[in-house]
Symmetry: C2
Subunit: 449 residues, 2 copies
């Protein structure tokens, strides 16, 4: 709500062409907040707002804008302005922007950048999407191990302006092989005459350019790093990933898992910015697949038509049995998928997980069966055989749910399929079908017909 | 797998009492990895391993251990060793540890700490659990605005050893009111004679001690901060939250949402370390609630017994209709709940969301109905009336699912209930019931009986 009021005030200034006041208001605002405001404007006004920005805020705001607004601005500003922006952006931000742009704009941007920048950008564009290489930055501080702390600090003070982070410095040799890492804290706490090689940490945690961005982010979370070096096949330093990008990756990956686990294709943009058509396109395919699988469950069910034609009461327990089996399954699959995503559960834990789930499901199944037994004793007194059928089926439903819910994601991972794809919805339909088969077979055995 | 091999090697050294070799191996390892190894050992061996650690690694390893292993060690080491640890730990780590400990151990720890540390710890223990206050650290660098850059750097070099981060320094006045922030990068890039007040950023993004840890973490993610100041009611600086803790909070909150959305109480520990009994306790209550609601769906269903006794074929479509309604609902609820957790969807967007979901559900519902119509035309040719009933019900199921799935989480939030609590499983049962009522009522109207 506060945001909305501020936006109205700023829009009022634009309506009244009070650009000096607008510029002052921008100067007081955080660049992230200015970007969020500009994203609410139509293209021509966004460009106007962009040109009103104080010079020193331009770049920070631009890097924060969403792809759409960046394109609008690039499309409407002069070649000279484009050149200024592209040369000053961190390479990783520039690459992010270009990856989302239509080809004609990419041409225009690259055409206005220096040969050096163009080479760098082209090299970045070659890293696979979602790889550590694609989110790294090349603006970091490199030191040699033979220099003193005093010289290192001088070097940082001289060159730090163009570096995304100065807090972690990397020690390399003549062929850029990574030899150690030293933090600015280490430098400040050492004596001026100490040598870098004496204070550096030689065991550096690093990732390969080809590692996934998730692996990089997880390593940073595990070891509490604010920057992670990225190396090529020969252990040569080629870039670093900074913690703010790692945080974004972790949040995006979690969102993708949430979406996949609810049977959707992951969306590229925030919900409110995704078109109705794109939302429908993300949701329809899985619903169709699940429609077909649940039709199969219907086919299974039709085999027992004589049974429920004789005992129509049996039908009223179907929602409870399939619901409970599905819920028990989605509990297990969620814990296992999340555990694997966090690196807490590995493939080697397969038997441990199976044994644990078996015991949990014994406790949970018996608890539910007891509750159900009491309910049936009150509501349908004397119907002991029916009660036996339903309670037994309930225990089996929980067992089937928990077993399939925990094993299927691990099997998927073993087959290199994203475990989140075989989450709750798919498991639910499988469990539904199996539960119903068991239910009606028990009923056929137990009930007189 | 690599981990397991390393653990075996280290355990072998312990078996053969090769403590010198073990110490050397530890010296080469990262403290996080040593902690993970020690957590796999039985208590008496964990203490042994702890005492083998190189002196300088003791504290870092201890802070990384899980609560259980920390307790084992605290229970078995001398008072002198406890005092050393507690005085040197960052206050937030010490508080984390004490919060998990049984009362007698807490007494022993506090009894062995200095009066100053004790006061600080007691003050921290008063902040509500999961508040920004409870995860902040008090070891940060404070500067006055009247000093020069040179003096500031000297101050950092003198006092930085005891500060968790030196990279963001906070500018306060005599009454500790927060006046600005200056990064070490700013200091290094400024001239020695510049005054702090000239280079500091006066608009500081800060949180209150009473804000939730989630709010703090989200602010840091939004503004790409590596430290966030925490202030009391009078804007006095009382602590900072560092980015590594914020990353942990974001991951934990996502995990909690995954668990709540799959109808479980959030677990305190990683899956493999949670006891079978605790897992069952987290899962059973929601399964019981859902058991009861799905029984109610059964009761609803029993009202239509005459109908499906006449047309048993109707029963075979139940899994498809309830499944599709439930899946459509969980898609919507997942997008909305995640969007709200990321701060992308706010309460004011209620109507926008409703309008968007209505259009999505028109597209998706018609797509599914068409697929279903084709299938029925092939498999049950000539049954046009039945086909009409099923297709119509399918569109309604998607509509009910999407509407309830998107609205219920927002209504929950408006009532200050965690939206994740009303996610997929609860929505599924409601949608199941409504869909079946609609299905059989359409059938009663359309089919001749």
């Amino acid at each position: 709500m506060e945001d909305q009021e501020l936006y109205k005030k700023l829009q009022g200034m634009m309506d009244r062409r009070e650009y000096a006041a607008l510029r002052l208001a921008f100067a007081e605002m955080n660049e992230v907040d200015i970007a969020r405001f500009m994203e609410t404007l139509p293209p021509s006004r966004a460009v106007l707002a962009f040109r009103t920005l104080p010079k020193e805020a331009e770049l920070g705001v631009f890097a924060e804008l969403d792809a759409e607004t960046q394109q609008h601005i690039i499309g409407l500003i002069t070649d000279k302005e484009i050149a200024d922006i592209i040369e000053d952006l961190w390479v990783d931000d520039a690459v992010d922007m270009l990856e989302e742009m239509p080809a004609n704009l990419v041409q225009r941007v690259l055409g206005n950048s220096s040969a050096e920048t163009r080479t760098l950008i082209n090299q970045f564009l070659m890293y696979p999407e979602d790889s550590a290489g694609s989110i790294m930055t090349v603006e970091y501080i490199e030191l040699r191990k033979s220099i003193t702390v005093e010289d290192a600090i001088k070097r940082i003070r001289r060159t730090g302006e163009d570096r995304e982070t100065v807090y972690t410095c990397y020690v390399t040799n003549d062929t850029r092989i990574l030899q150690g890492v030293v933090t600015v804290k280490d430098l400040l706490l050492a004596h001026d005459s100490d040598l870098i090689e004496d204070i550096m940490e030689p065991d550096v945690i690093a990732v390969a350019t080809t590692a996934t961005q998730e692996e990089a982010a997880r390593l940073m979370a595990k070891y509490d790093l604010i920057a992670l070096p990225v190396v090529d096949g020969e252990n040569r330093l080629v870039g670093i990933v900074t913690v703010d990008d790692a945080v974004d990756v972790l949040r995006e990956e979690a969102t993708e898992d949430f979406e996949r686990m609810a049977a959707m294709a992951p969306s590229e943009k925030p919900y409110l910015k995704t078109s109705v058509f794109a939302l429908a396109k993300n949701r329809l395919p899985w619903l169709l697949i699940l429609l077909v699988t649940s039709m199969l469950v219907g086919v299974v069910l039709s085999h027992y038509e004589p049974m429920y034609a004789t005992f129509p009461l049996l039908v009223t327990f179907i929602p409870m049995l399939t619901g409970t089996g599905g819920n028990a399954g989605s509990q297990s699959s969620t814990m296992i998928i999340r555990g694997m995503a966090l690196g807490e559960i590995k493939m080697g834990d397969f038997l441990k997980v199976l044994w644990k789930e078996t015991r949990v499901c014994l406790l949970v199944g018996l608890g539910l069966a007891l509750a159900n037994f009491v309910r049936l004793a009150i509501m349908l007194p004397g119907n002991w055989l029916l009660s036996l059928v339903v309670c037994l089926s309930l225990v089996v439903a929980v067992f089937v749910g928990k077993t399939i819910g925990s094993m299927l994601p691990m099997l998927a991972k073993a087959c290199r399929i994203d475990p989140a794809l075989v989450a709750a919805p798919l498991i639910t339909t499988i469990v539904d079908g199996l539960t119903l088969v068991v239910y009606f077979n028990i009923a056929i055995q137990v009930l007189p017909h």
